[in-house]
Amino acid sequence: MAGIKSLDELKALRDKHRESVLGRDTGDSENKIRITVGMATCGIASGARETINAIIDEVAKEHLMNVVVVQSGCLGYCYAEPTVEVRFPGKEAVLYGNIDAKRGRELVQRHIKNGEIQKDWIIEKTFNNI
């Protein structure tokens, strides 16, 4: 990266990456399923590292090319760590709590592969984002 030289360059870069992160445009077939694992201190201490490794492993095992696994900070649901968010392109994200490595693998199988939302593991989001 050679450094961004102007605001226009910055805007272009934003637009380029916007879709893949926000994943809101259903029309774009390149959009992938995004699995976000909360990897703040609380999460890691509760086993988020094991969870994310298990998920990555499972995704690889299943050759799920349309899935990206990312780490993120903390959503604030400390009582339910580790937390994992699954977002299909164009759909509202689903937030799961208490996802240990085992559940992580199951999540890949059930939600990602088979599209079954795991209702029992869902935690209700109690926030609006700006």
Partner: protein, 160 residues
């Protein structure tokens, strides 16, 4: 460097760190962190070396070391058990966890066990209040620790 009763390689490492600092003014605390990482604790000789190397009075270095609870002048055990005594942990019984560690390792807070394996310390809130009470061993965080868990945690580290 023969005048200091310190490991030569470690001293060299510290010296290199200090030499490479861009901003030496005000770097004392970062230097002390580095020194404690290298030597495990800040002995008198380490402090003297830093003082003379940076042209800071030894009394000032000592004053700083004794001010911050993160710095220690005592050798530490191979494994450092930190029990969080933040409010969230306190109301969830961190004092009982601390007592259990002290009982099982038979040492006081801040001290090293006779075999040099463990040091028990307390700290104020690691910000993992959701997991209270929290114990950290060598940087690994254990959450929702119960008194019964303590023995197991110790065992985990006793083996190596």
């Amino acid at each position: 460097m023969a005048e200091y009763n310190l490991d030569h390689d470690k001293l060299k490492k510290l010296e290199t760190y200090i030499d490479n600092l861009q901003e030496k003014e005000g770097a004392l605390i970062n230097i002390l962190h580095e020194a404690q990482d290298i030597f495990g604790y800040l002995s008198k000789d380490v402090q003297l070396f830093i003082a003379r190397k940076c042209g800071i009075p030894a009394a000032k270095v000592f004053g700083v070391v004794t001010f911050y609870s993160y710095f220690t002048m005592e050798p530490r055990g191979k494994h450092v058990v930190n029990i969080c005594m933040g409010t969230a942990c306190f109301v969830k019984g961190a004092d009982k966890i601390l007592a259990e560690f002290k009982r099982l390792l038979d040492i006081k807070e801040g001290n090293m066990s006779e075999d040099g394996m463990f040091t028990i310390d307390t700290l104020r809130c690691v910000g993992a209040c959701g997991l209270a009470p929290v114990v950290i061993v060598d940087g690994k965080v254990y959450g929702r620790v119960k008194v019964e868990d303590v023995e197991g945690i110790i065992k985990e580290y006793k083996q190596d």
